[in-house]
C-alpha cells in the first residue's frame, strides 16, 4: 500500500445525520434507502407549508450531547459545534484514539461548512438571543471546538466553499499532511439547519413538497438537510497497525467555474474531474464507483450525469441525497464517509429512485446495494453555488 512517505490514509470515520448519531446508522439508512424527511413549518411570510427537509433527530442530539458534554448556552443553537464534535469524536474512537492522545497534539483540524454557526447567528439577527449569550458564532468557533474536543493545538481553521466545503477541507488537510505540518488530521464537514439557507433556496424555488430524486426523469427539488461527517487522516509513517485503514486518500481537487453565481458550468465541472484524476494518477476507466453530488436539481444532475454517461460508463454511480438529503457543506463529508465504508465493505448503497426512473444512460445503482468484490477506486463529488467544485478520490488498501 506504500506510495511513498507522503501517502495519507483514512483511519477513522464519524457521522451524524437525519439517519441518527453514528456512521453505522448512516450506512444502514443508505443501504435500505430509508429516508426520514419531514415537513417544514413556514419560517417567513409567504413561505408555503409542506416543504421537505431532513433534520437530525432529537434522540441523536441527546446522544451527541452525552458523548461531547456539549451544553448549548441556550436552546438548541450552535448545532454545528455539537454535530462536528460528535462526528469528530466518533471518528477518533474509530481510529483507536482517545481525546488528548499524544498523536493528536499537533493534529491539523480543518472543518468545511457552508453556513457555519447558522442557527446562533440567525437567533441574534432575529433578536431571539443577545450576542453575549450566544456562545459565539464565528465559523472558526466550530473548528476550535473540535480541536478542544480532540485535544489538538495544531493548525485549526474552517473553510467555506458552499456545498463543496468538505471536499475542500479534505484537500487542505491532505496538503498539510503531505507537507509535513503534522502526521494526523481531523477533518470533515458540518452544517446545521439554517433559516437563511431555506429562505434562499425557497426564493430560487429549489425546495418543495417532494423529496429529492437524484438523476430521475421527474426530479424537481433539493431536500435540504443537516449533520456532519468527519475523517481521521494519518500519514503512512504514523500508522500504528492497531487498525487497518479504510482507504488511502489519493486526491482532492478544487476549482471554480467563474461562470454564474448559482448555475453549474459543464466545462468547470468536467475540468474538476480531470484535475482529480491527474492528481490521483488515474484514468476515468480506473474509477469503480462515484458518489455523485446528485442534488436532484435539473441543472446539477444533467451536467454531472452527462459526464458520467460520456466519460465513466463503467463506474457504478450512486447518489445518497435521495436518502439523507443535502447536508450542504457537510455533503462531501458524509459522501467521503460513505465512500470509505463502501471500500471497506465492497458494497455500494443504492440511489433512492426506481431503475425505470433513471433519466440518462448511466450505471446508477438502484434497488438493493450492489456488491463489488474488486472495488478499488471510489470518487466523491461535491459542487456548490458560486461555481465551487471539489472532488476527492479514495483507494482501497488491499
Amino acid at each position: 500500500m506504500s506510495r511513498g512517505p507522503e501517502s495519507v490514509f483514512v483511519t477513522g470515520l464519524g457521522a451524524i445525520s437525519p439517519a441518527g448519531a453514528g456512521k453505522e446508522r448512516l450506512w444502514d439508512d443508505l443501504c435500505t434507502t430509508t429516508a426520514r424527511f419531514e415537513e417544514l413549518k413556514p419560517i417567513y411570510p409567504g413561505m408555503k407549508p409542506g416543504i421537505l427537509s431532513g433534520r437530525v433527530p432529537e434522540s441523536a442530539r441527546v446522544r451527541a450531547q452525552e458523548l461531547t458534554g456539549h451544553r448549548p448556552s441556550y436552546g438548541t443553537a450552535r448545532s454545528a459545534s455539537l454535530f462536528a464534535e460528535y462526528a469528530a469524536l466518533e471518528a477518533l474512537g474509530d481510529a483507536g484514539f482517545t481525546p488528548g492522545h499524544p498523536a493528536l497534539r499537533n493534529a491539523v483540524v480543518c472543518v468545511g461548512s457552508s453556513d457555519g454557526q447558522a442557527d446562533a447567528l440567525e437567533d441574534v439577527v432575529a433578536g431571539r438571543c443577545d450576542p453575549a449569550d450566544s456562545g459565539g458564532y464565528s465559523s472558526y468557533s466550530i473548528s476550535d471546538d473540535v480541536a478542544r474536543a480532540v485535544g489538538s493545538v495544531g493548525p485549526t481553521f474552517t473553510v467555506h466553499n458552499t456545498c463543496a466545503s468538505a471536499n475542500v477541507a479534505l484537500s487542505c488537510a491532505l496538503e498539510m499532511l503531505q507537507a509535513g505540518v503534522a502526521d494526523t488530521a481531523v477533518v470533515g464537514g458540518v452544517d446545521p439547519y439554517s433559516e437563511k439557507n431555506l429562505i434562499g433556496f425557497n426564493t430560487l424555488q429549489a425546495i418543495g413538497p417532494h423529496a429529492c430524486r437524484p438523476f430521475a426523469k421527474d426530479r424537481r427539488y433539493v431536500t435540504p438537510s443537516e449533520g456532519a461527517g468527519f475523517l481521521v487522516l494519518q500519514t503512512e509513517r504514523s500508522l500504528t497497525g492497531a487498525r487497518s485503514p479504510y482507504a488511502e486518500l489519493l486526491a482532492s481537487a478544487v476549482n471554480n467555474d467563474a461562470s454564474h453565481p448559482t448555475a453549474p458550468d459543464p466545462e468547470g465541472v468536467a475540468s474538476c474531474h480531470r484535475m482529480a484524476l491527474a492528481q490521483a494518477g488515474l484514468e476515468e476507466s480506473d474509477i469503480d464507483v462515484i458518489f455523485a453530488h446528485g442534488t436532484g436539481s435539473r441543472a446539477n444532475d444533467s451536467i454531472e450525469g452527462a459526464i458520467f454517461q460520456e466519460r465513466y460508463p463503467q463506474a457504478a454511480i450512486t447518489a445518497i441525497k435521495g436518502t439523507v438529503g443535502h447536508l450542504m457543506g457537510a455533503a462531501g463529508a458524509v459522501g467521503a464517509v460513505a465512500s470509505c465504508m463502501a471500500l471497506e465493505r465492497r458494497l455500494v448503497p443504492p440511489t433512492n429512485i426506481g431503475h425505470e426512473d433513471v433519466e440518462l444512460d448511466i450505471n446508477l445503482v438502484t434497488g438493493a446495494p450492489r456488491s463489488l468484490p474488486g472495488l478499488r477506486h471510489v470518487q466523491n463529488n461535491a459542487f456548490g453555488f458560486g461555481g465551487n467544485n471539489a472532488i476527492s478520490i479514495f483507494r482501497s488498501i488491499t
Partner: protein, 266 residues
C-alpha cells in the same frame, strides 16, 4: 489595502471608500451586496494586468459576508415572498469569493477560510501551496473584515477590548523563486507571561543587500489581520537580496503562527 469606517448610520456607505470606487466596481447588484464583497471586488478589479485562466483566489476572513447574510434574513421577514432571489447568492459565507472569481474569470483553486487571529498566516500558507503545486501561476490573496453589527457582537463577546477596524488587504502573487517562505505553528506555553496580546506583528530580520534603511517593526493589536498583512507585504517589497521578514499572529487562545519570507540572494 482599503480601510473603511463601517460604523455609519444604516444605509450610509462607510467612510474611507476610495473616490474611484464606483468607477471600478459599478453599482450592479448593490442592493444585494455587502461591503465586504464590494471591497474585495474593488481591490481585485483596480489591479490592472493581463489576466490568465486558472488563477487562484484565497480569502481569509473571520466574518466575511455576515452583513449580507443578516440582510437576507431581515429582508425575508419584511418582504416575505416578494423578496428577490438575487439576495441569496450574495448572502453565503463565501459570496465574496464567488463574485471575485466571476469578476476576473478565475477558474483555479478558491476558498474562503477562517482561522481567527491566525487567518493571515493560514491564508498565506494556502496561497503558497496552491501556487507551489503549479495549478496556477497567479493568485489573489484577500485578507480582512468589514464589521457588521452582528460581527461586532461576536468579536466583542470574545474580547470586548480588542479593536475591530474594517479593511481588506489584497496582494497578487506570481509563481517564481524570488522568495522562499518558512511557516511555524505552535501553542504558547501556558506558563508564559504573554507579552504579546492577541493580534499580529511584523518585523524585518535582515534587510538584505543594498538596502540602507530598515523598516520599523510594526504591531497591530486588533482582530482584523488585514492591517498587519499590509505592513508585512510592504516590508517584503523593501527587502534586498538575502533579506527576510516575519509576520507573527497570536490568537486569544494562545495559538501562534508565523511565516518568515526570505528574498533570494543575488
Amino acid at each position: 489595502m482599503c480601510a473603511v469606517d463601517q460604523e455609519q448610520p444604516p444605509g450610509e456607505p462607510p467612510t474611507g471608500v476610495p473616490e474611484d470606487f464606483h468607477l471600478v466596481v459599478g453599482t450592479a447588484g448593490d442592493q444585494f451586496r455587502d461591503w465586504f464583497t464590494r471591497l474585495c471586488l474593488y481591490l481585485v478589479l483596480q489591479d490592472e494586468y493581463e489576466r490568465e485562466s486558472g488563477e487562484t483566489v484565497i480569502i481569509g476572513t473571520e466574518y466575511g459576508n455576515f452583513g449580507a447574510m443578516a440582510g437576507l434574513q431581515r429582508t425575508a421577514a419584511a418582504k416575505g415572498r416578494l423578496m428577490s432571489a438575487q439576495y441569496f447568492p450574495n448572502a453565503l459565507t463565501s459570496s465574496a469569493s464567488a463574485f471575485v472569481n466571476l469578476a476576473i474569470g478565475a477558474t483555479g483553486r478558491n476558498m474562503t477560510l477562517n482561522a481567527a487571529q491566525l487567518t493571515p498566516v493560514v491564508t498565506l500558507w494556502q496561497m503558497l501551496v496552491a501556487l507551489g503545486k503549479g495549478s496556477s501561476s497567479t493568485g489573489h490573496l484577500l485578507i480582512g473584515d468589514v464589521y457588521s453589527p452582528e460581527a461586532l457582537g461576536d468579536a466583542r463577546r470574545e474580547d470586548a477590548g480588542l479593536p475591530c477596524a474594517s479593511g481588506v488587504t489584497h496582494a497578487r502573487l506570481s509563481t517564481g523563486d524570488d522568495y522562499s517562505a518558512s511557516f511555524d505553528f505552535w501553542q504558547e506555553d501556558t506558563s508564559s507571561t504573554g507579552s504579546f496580546p492577541a493580534g499580529g506583528r511584523a518585523w524585518v530580520v535582515a534587510r538584505g543587500e543594498g538596502v540602507v534603511e530598515t523598516a520599523e517593526p510594526k504591531e497591530h493589536l486588533g482582530r482584523n489581520g488585514a492591517f498587519i498583512t499590509a505592513e508585512f507585504l510592504r516590508m517584503l517589497q523593501g527587502l534586498g537580496p538575502g533579506g527576510s521578514a516575519v509576520v507573527e499572529c497570536r490568537a486569544t487562545s494562545g495559538k501562534r503562527a508565523s511565516v518568515t519570507v526570505t528574498k533570494r540572494s543575488s
